[in-house]
Symmetry: C2
Amino acid sequence: MKILEDRILKDGVVKAGNVLKVDSFLNHQMDIELFNEMGKEWKRLFAGENITKILTIEASGIGIAVIAAQYFNVPVVFAKKSQSLNLDGDLYTSKVESFTHGRVYDVVVSKKFLHEDDNVLIIDDFLANGNALVGLIDIAGQAGAKVAGIGIAVEKLFQGGGDMLRAKGYHIESLAMVESMSEDGLTFGKR
Amino acid sequence: MKILEDRILKDGVVKAGNVLKVDSFLNHQMDIELFNEMGKEWKRLFAGENITKILTIEASGIGIAVIAAQYFNVPVVFAKKSQSLNLDGDLYTSKVESFTHGRVYDVVVSKKFLHEDDNVLIIDDFLANGNALVGLIDIAGQAGAKVAGIGIAVEKLFQGGGDMLRAKGYHIESLAMVESMSEDGLTFGKR
């Protein structure tokens, strides 16, 4: 998606340790006009699917998922990263290792909000090694729900998570795919 | 706001310890049509203010803030609850004690995204003792920004945080104000 790639080239910053900072428009400050263009594009790309629910993960998936949901006319459920006093005990849980934070956390979704008749679109801001997505797919599977597609803002192709999941048959639509990056620059690729 | 009050009466669940669970439509599963009605209502209530930015706090403030931002045509910045590897060191920070989780955490916002010319609307899902809001107001103050208003989905009047902040002169618009609640039922009040 050209406007997202252009925005990454303009405002993204490459940091040591394969970190691409897009916090000025995607995951700390959020550009809602851009999010609407992304939501429309996912709707176009997943037009053939009868999505019943969008599943994302706190915190930076929520903004793009909620805007996208307006184009699919479905509710959003966000997975929480640890068990809170406000959640019932009746939960789907999965363990995820965070690339950014370097630790393992539990991902939880209440059993009330995912069912076997759900056709789920998973949305998240980044796809790197795919750990968070594997956790969300696991949770959808525990509910007996179908994962109809996965919409990603920025995929880092060189970290392999996207290709690992494509090989398993998942339909992934990443709006920007970073093929290589260094402090000298960044190139995009395709799949 | 009648449709939010009605929804709380229909789907909210009162739990021990003054916990009101609204996780089926507000802060775990999210009803985006309802969020749009809430966004429109905040726009009406803060129509006189020239808002430049919406400030919220992860995770459950993000969804309502992002939808509301469409009516104000401004970016959203969400405060993060602990320092992550993805954030620069150049941060505004404040300490907040969580009612729900029973612990103290740091709230951080990058200095890049709040400035002294900002006229900020703070949005959050709950207002109880007001601790999270005090932290966000503190951060806006560190940036030299003006807090033009505070938009809340559900205020628990009996916990006093809203009245404490109104007494300091803040313009708070809570779309549902719970006056009392128990497992037998719930009543709404006004301010």
